[in-house]
């Protein structure tokens, strides 16, 4: 029987040697493997398009639940106990630590606010550095705007961190990180509170100069001005704060939203100066999940607040709060896909009101207060105890928007039994930062 294969042995040896030696000097085949679906650092931001895309990622970063996606409200309100447990669902111990003012340096909320905040800042810094070197044809038309947006994001992120991590006794603010992280051995110290404010204000002022008034859902010069009003307000410069608030009220197209009967603003509300966008395929409204009764709903308003907001039957804001058993659910954020407003015109009125009062313009202050009261459906207030009234109105109007806790500290009022400057109210610098950055000083008490 003859076999089908009957090659002469010599030919087969040749084939085999060919197979074996076919790989000789083929180390280079490994060069064909490159990270897939990624951009390596050397080519990542060499075009205007890519610089824009990295900037988009910075917006995404501040949308983190631990930055401006939820904790910008929850953390302060839990510490101030303006927000309390509803009894629905389980709170986690990190949240309990905020409530009991026993935060540890490994508390997830405090650690991630810091790390996610600086992640956003690093993204922005990469954009700012790249904008200096990009030379393509689109850059001139966009450089200024992109710089403005980048500085706006850097400023408002650093401001949130400053609000929570600043230590009054030590006069320590935040780490002013202004360049991209490329060197893994970079270790920076914290700046003073004043220097931190100065950098934030400088970034915002630069943003005002470079941003357009309209920017399709992204930072605008008006948004930067509104934040300048807020930052100056908390810095203690009421004159500057009032001046920026006045600019918004008088010169911008924003107006108080009178069409809505509850204050869950629509995405197109004329009142919202800056909001983080949330769409169905990229829903990031973390407050919706934490606060809404039909979702987790584990935190609600405290009883004292509820009594105040329902004290006057005419107050249209009362419908935002829902009494269920002993719990008071907050319905300010009850739609998942809706934008999350970060700053709106009502705050400008209240800020200007306080600035006017400080400057001795009692009538003007009262007028601003009553503008807000009228919108809420309330009768005009009288001028007696005006400072207290502004404070109370601000509490009700800007409730659960991340203002109350910081305002208490600004006014040096006790907070849930703690002195305004108690280190217990200040977030600890995360342990990971302290352990790996010898130049970073921990806050007192941690």
């Amino acid at each position: 029987m003859k076999y089908i294969f009957s090659c002469p042995p010599k030919a087969l040896i040749g084939v085999f040697l060919g197979l074996v030696l076919g790989f000789s000097s083929c180390d280079s085949v490994l060069d064909d493997y490159a990270p897939y679906d990624t951009l390596t650092n050397d080519v990542a931001i060499t075009t205007t398009t890519n610089a824009q895309a990295v900037l988009v990622s910075a917006y995404d970063a501040i949308q983190s639940y631990y930055v401006y996606g939820g904790q910008h409200v929850i953390a302060g309100d839990l510490i101030a106990e303006e927000m309390v447990k509803t009894g629905k669902g389980n709170t986690v111990f990190e949240e309990d630590q905020l409530i009991t003012k026993t935060m540890s340096d490994i508390n997830l909320i405090t650690a991630v606010m810091w790390s996610d905040g600086y992640r956003a800042i690093n993204r922005v810094n990469n954009v700012l550095a790249a904008l200096e070197t990009i030379t393509d044809s689109n850059i001139e038309a966009n450089r200024s705007r992109l710089q403005g947006e980048a500085k706006f994001i850097r400023a408002i992120t650093m401001f949130l961190l400053l609000q929570h991590y600043k230590s009054f006794g030590q006069n320590l603010g935040v780490i002013l990180k202004l360049t991209p992280s490329l060197d893994i051995n970079d270790r920076r110290a914290r700046s003073s509170i004043a220097d931190s404010f100065a950098q934030i204000i400088a970034d915002l002022e630069d943003a005002v100069a470079k941003l357009p008034t309209n920017n399709s859902g992204r930072a605008t010069s008006w948004a930067a001005k509104a934040f300048l009003a807020r930052v100056n307000f908390y810095k203690g410069d009421l004159t500057a704060a009032g001046s920026y608030a006045n600019d918004l009220i008088e010169n911008s197209s924003y107006s108080l939203d009178t069409t809505v009967t509850n204050q869950t603003w629509t995405n197109s509300s004329p009142e919202v100066i800056f909001a983080l966008k949330s769409i169905a395929t990229d829903a990031n409204n973390g407050l919706w999940g934490t606060l809404t009764r039909t979702e987790s709903g584990r935190f609600g308003a405290n009883a004292d607040f509820y009594a105040k907001v329902t004290a006057d039957a005419a107050d249209r804001r009362a419908v935002l709060y829902e009494l269920s058993g002993l719990a008071i659910f907050i319905n300010k954020y009850k739609e998942r896909d809706k934008d999350l407003p970060l700053i709106r015109l009502a705050e400008m009125y209240l800020t200007r009101s306080e600035a006017r009062l400080a400057a001795g313009d009692e009538a003007g202050a009262l007028a601003d207060l009553n503008t807000i009261r009228a919108r809420a459906g309330l009768a005009a207030a009288t001028a007696d105890n005006l400072a207290d009234k502004i404070f109370e109105e601000r509490r009700l109007e800007l409730a659960f928007e991340g203002d109350y806790f910081h305002n208490l500290r600004r006014l040096e009022k006790n907070i849930a039994g703690f002195a305004w400057n108690s280190p217990k109210l200040v977030m600890p610098i995360p342990r990971q930062e302290i352990e790996n950055n010898p130049n970073c000083e921990q806050n007192t008490g941690y």
């Binding site: 490994l30 690093n122 169905a280």
Partner: protein, 1044 residues
């Protein structure tokens, strides 16, 4: 015999498509009978012509026949596993049939047994590295869906742990300890030369992983060799640091076609049941805890009814009525949730294997179907596998072969641990919560308290279709020189699907499709030459090229118009993602071996391997190894000694490599996905670290192999020490850099231990009794981390109290040192291992004192402040003992496995053993709680809804750290083979009936579900920690085995 003839021709013509006419050509024949030392015929002994591929296997009567042999002089060789090989010269004359009978004598030490080594074969006598072999017999006893568990207790130095007893659940294997922290710690599996790359499930949040290796049918496997030390494994270079598991599938043998049919069926049940409180006890203890917290009156009952129902009653009749209604439900309910979700699952498996061949063609075909219900409701695995292996002699010098396995499986999974129904059944499903409401519907399914709803409401499926195989061509131009080209690969398609309904008001689903494609091309040249029966030289050189490409795409959706719609795109798309991974390797390998007089042997190998996972400067690693052996018993002064019949001394050194799990860990890059408002964003996602390189594992192995009393007792004693350097570790960065960590080569670990193994043929004859035992000791130590202390969370685990600390075993715990309950106040007490000082530096509590919780709290300290390093997650000693007995037709095999010297941390203990506030059911241990001053107990006073009381749920203490020691009857099999007089009548060669029990019983003091636990799959830092993990499975099966 007629049946055999039909079968043979059926298979040879239909499957091979090749006529077997060559059997009838005009040449000579050889036939004969093979018997054992007692004269009993030997079934399936191999008789062949030395130096050719021509041969045949004997039938059940011991008869073999080799036809169509060219006239000439040959050496006829008879071999049988476990018997000494016999050679006999023969002259074949054309047209005549020569008769040669063989009587084989048992080779107790199996010194001539073939051992598969890297890129070749050797014999046990000549191996100088450390290799454990597990053969078909042991594999048959393993009734699990994966072959990995067959290695449990059977291979010294190899520790195999099933994560749980769920069908198709993950299994972890450690060879000679754990040496890496964030790199892979599992060995590589090489199936007929093809590296297995399968991946576990890809849907997250399911609480347990599935095991891709269930795609390999254990019944396809002929032998498993575990290459344990570097001198054996380093020729596999990359990833060989964790050992190499070589799997050889069954091949057909020359001779009449043999058919092997197996059917087995039985039940699957959990090995143990966790004792929990019943409803009455729960209410009673809750009331006691409430009063302990200084309250009077009735304790508030946890909300068992739905919020909707509660609010309805509040609206209608007020809060008091709602509370009363809720209490009434609780008072009148007594649910045993574990009984509600556990069951006796039914398992069955049918296997048909057919193999045979002639002088030029051999084939083996296997089809197996397995249907296994888990011990949890809604959980099953169905698997069909098909194998086709064949080899053809194309010419006398050229051979072509292929091994192909195809598998298809459906794993209807259930979520496990914290995510799953069984986890809920022992925690949030309180005994005071009903399963069904008055209408027979699930009670409050969305409340997170109905475990049955979690099973019925989560449809989790994994469909996998895969093929793995190779084709090879070998060419022998001259005697001793072999060229081999072997091309193999794997293709797998997986479809993971999860649909969540019932437990949520907004049903959602997730759909993930994965493909895996790999190829591996191995080309080797080998040469072996024996000169004057004194010198034996073997040389091997080769090149291996590997490529792996994996792609996963996923889609999630929710908000369906109607419950009938379940595919994500039928609702609102929640999100989508895709992922791609490509890895390439190229290796050059060489090995040279020399034996002098079969007494002195030395072998050296080297592999230079490049991996695309590293940057250009660090891409290639060189992994050398050398080993030597001296068979002392061949020396004149020992030769012929009956007492010390075999003695070999061996030692080896080598360097093996390990790579990071991530694909491009060295490069700085931006990735996509950080999108905002419909705009696509890219973000910096990894800092560059071009210095990242291979982990190196340097290993030394030394030992003896011995045979006593004519090898009736044989075994080995080995010592190993391995030092892993350039260990990859995450380096934490200050997060103000915008990054959390990078990976660096900056640590080292050491593993050392002894392995003892013994096989003893205690009785031979009418009554056979054999004992095989192995014991491994291991000591594992983190030798350097550059000062860093890393927790389980830092290294990718999900538990933070395991640590990487210099001088300690990997994953050592840091816990408060619990010292029982203070009889005066019921507080937990702790031993202080350091002085506690106040802000002014004064000692307020001295080291060595025992302090109770109240005092600790009054001093301003928490339980976390007094943690101390303790425990060991890895057994100091483990092993197995197998006893097999045979008497007439009966055979019995009993395998015991054991492990000792390690601890298990019950992470769920914090909640289950006193943590009432979490609304968790409680372990029956709490019935022994402290109740009044003077009570001596280990369970502290209970509290309920008390912010000032100790919150046991937050405190990790040694109260939950237990000894993990166990002795387990891993497997028990009793079989009966029908006498030949009966089987002959029904034309069968053999018929055997058997009963097999896996995980039959266990001795342990461990109080949790099961002491064999595995957390986070392969993560080496968080082993021996359990959090609501499902127990192992006990499988009781009966079966029948037919050969013809």
């Amino acid at each position: 015999m007629k049946l055999n003839y039909v079968w043979k021709h059926f298979w040879l013509t239909v499957i091979l498509g090749i006529s077997s006419l060559s059997l009838f050509a005009q040449n000579g024949s050889i036939k004969g009978k093979v018997t054992d030392e007692n004269g009993e015929p030997m079934f399936y002994a191999n008789v062949g012509l030395e130096g050719t591929a021509i041969g045949a296997a004997s039938d059940f009567d011991g008869i073999y026949q080799i036809s169509n042999v060219k006239a000439g002089n040959y050496i006829l060789v008879a071999t049988f596993l476990g018997y000494k090989t016999v050679k006999q010269p023969i002259t074949v004359v054309a047209g005549e049939t020569s008769t040669v009978d063989f009587q084989l004598v048992a080779d107790y030490a199996k010194l001539d047994e073939v051992v598969v080594i890297g890129y070749g074969l050797s014999t046990k006598r000549n191996v100088t590295g450390s290799i454990s072999s597990v053969k078909e017999d042991a594999l048959k006893q393993n009734s699990a869906a994966t072959f990995q568990t067959a290695l449990q207790g059977r291979a010294a130095g190899v520790q195999v742990t099933s994560a749980n007893g769920m069908p198709g659940g993950a299994v972890s294997m450690r060879v000679r300890g754990t040496s890496s922290i964030i790199s892979d710690t599992e060995p590589i599996y090489v199936i007929d030369g093809v590296v297995f790359n399968g991946r576990a499930n890809s849907i997250g949040g399911t609480g347990a992983d599935s095991n891709p290796l269930v795609s390999l049918n254990p019944a396809d496997i002929e032998s498993i060799e575990v290459l344990k030390d570097a001198s054996a494994a380093a020729i596999y270079g990359a990833r060989s640091a964790n050992g190499v598991v070589l799997i050889t599938t069954k091949k057909g043998k020359q001779g009449a076609s043999k058919v092997d049919i197996n059917y087995r069926a039985g039940i699957v049940q959990p090995t143990r049941k966790l004792p929990l409180l019943n409803g009455t006890e729960y209410m009673f203890l809750m009331q006691e805890a409430w009063e302990n917290s200084g309250n009077v009156g009735l304790a508030p009952v946890p909300r068992v009814i739905s919020d909707t129902k509660y609010n309805e009653i509040v609206a209608a009749d007020g809060v008091a009525a709602a509370e009363a209604y809720n209490r009434n439900v609780a008072n009148n309910t007594n649910t045993d949730w574990l009984d509600a979700v556990l069951r006796n699952g039914f398992v069955q498996e049918a296997t048909v294997g057919v193999g045979g061949g002639d002088a030029r063609n051999t084939y083996y075909v296997n089809f197996t179907y397995r249907d296994e219900q888990g011990y949890q409701i809604e959980n099953y695995l169905k698997r069909g596998t098909f194998r086709f292996n064949a080899e053809h002699a194309l010419t006398d010098r050229l051979r072509l072969g292929y091994n192909i396995g195809i598998s298809r499986q459906l794993n209807k999974r259930v979520r496990a641990a914290w995510a799953g129904g069984l986890g809920t059944a022992q925690s949030r499903s309180l005994p005071i919560v009903p399963i069904y409401d008055e209408n027979g519907d699930l009670f409050n399914p969305t409340g997170g308290t109905n475990a049955v709803a979690l099973y019925e409401g989560v449809n989790l499926r994994e469909n996998r279709t895969g093929a793995l195989g190779n084709v090879f061509l070998t060419f022998q131009p001259v005697k001793g020189l072999t060229l081999r080209s072997d091309f193999g690969g794997e293709m797998a398609n997986r479809y993971d699907f999860q649909h969540i309904s019932l437990i949520t008001t907004n049903p959602s689903s997730e759909d993930r499709r994965s493909t895996l494609q790999s190829w591996i091309w191995t080309n080797t040249i080998g040469y072996e030459k024996t000169v004057n029966d004194i010198h034996n030289l073997s040389v091997l050189a080769g090149i291996v090229r590997e490529d792996l490409d994996e792609r996963i795409a996923g889609l999630t959706g929710n908000t369906f118009a109607d419950p009938s719609f379940i595919l994500p795109a039928s609702g609102t798309i929640g999100g989508y993602n895709d992922w791609n991974n490509q890895v390439g390797n190229i290796s050059y390998l060489g090995r040279i071996g020399y034996r002098l007089k079969e007494r002195y042997m030395i072998q050296a190998s080297v592999r230079r391997e490049g991996s695309s996972r590293f940057g250009p400067g660090k891409r290639f690693g060189v992994f050398p190894a050398v080993s030597a052996g001296w068979v002392i018993s061949e020396e004149d002064f020992l030769k012929g000694n009956d007492r010390l019949s075999f003695l070999k001394l061996k030692a080896g050194w080598g360097l093996a490599g390990n790579v990071p799990l991530s694909t491009f860990p060295w490069i700085g890059y931006y990735s996509a996905g950080a999108n905002y408002n419909g705009l696509s964003g890219i973000s910096p996602s990894q800092l560059a670290n071009p210095d990242l390189g291979w982990e190196n594992k340097e290993q030394i192995n030394a030992g003896i192999e011995y045979g006593l009393f004519n090898n009736r007792v044989s075994g080995a004693i080995e010592y190993y020490i391995t030092n892993t350097s350039n260990l990859l570790l995450p380096t934490a960065l200050p997060t103000s850099l915008g990054f959390g960590n990078i990976t660096e080569n900056r640590g080292s670990t050491r593993n050392q231990g002894f392995e003892f193994s013994v096989t003893s043929y205690n009785l031979r004859g009418a009554f056979n009794w054999t004992t095989e035992a192995n014991i491994t000791t291991q000591r594992n130590e983190v030798t350097n981390t550059n000062g860093a202390i890393l927790s389980g969370n830092d290294t990718g685990g999900t538990f933070g109290n395991n640590y990487i600390i210099e001088g300690q075993p990997i994953g050592v715990w840091q816990l408060a040192d619990y010292q029982g309950v203070n009889p005066d106040n019921g507080d937990e007490t702790f031993l202080l291992h350091r002085n506690l000082t106040n802000d002014s530096g004064e000692v307020v509590a001295a080291e060595g004192t025992v302090i109770d919780f109240t005092t600790l709290q009054a001093l301003g300290f928490t339980v976390d402040d007094i943690q101390v390093t303790m425990g060991n997650p890895y057994p100091k000693i483990f092993g197995g003992i197998t006893n097999t007995f045979g008497f007439k037709g009966f055979d019995v095999a009993v395998l015991f496995t054991f492990a000792a010297g390690h601890n298990i941390y019950n992470d769920d203990g914090k909640f289950l053993r006193g943590g009432f506030d979490g609304n968790w059911n409680q372990h029956r241990q709490v019935l022994d709680r402290w109740q009044k001053p003077g009570d001596i107990t280990d369970v502290p006073r209970l509290y309920y809804l008390d912010p000032d009381a100790p919150n046991y749920r937050n405190n990790n203490t040694s109260r939950y750290l237990e000894k993990g020691d166990f002795l387990r009857c891993k497997n028990l099999e009793v079989g009966y083979t029908l006498p030949k007089s009966i089987t002959e009548k029904i034309r069968l060669e053999r018929l055997r009936l058997f009963v097999n029990v896996n995980n039959a019983f266990i001795f342990t003091k461990y109080s949790g579900w099961d002491p064999e636990v595995n957390r986070d799959g392969a993560n080496s830092t968080t082993q021996s920690v359990t959090y609501l993990a499902p127990p192992q499975a006990r499988t009781i099966m009966g079966g029948i085995n037919i050969n013809f």
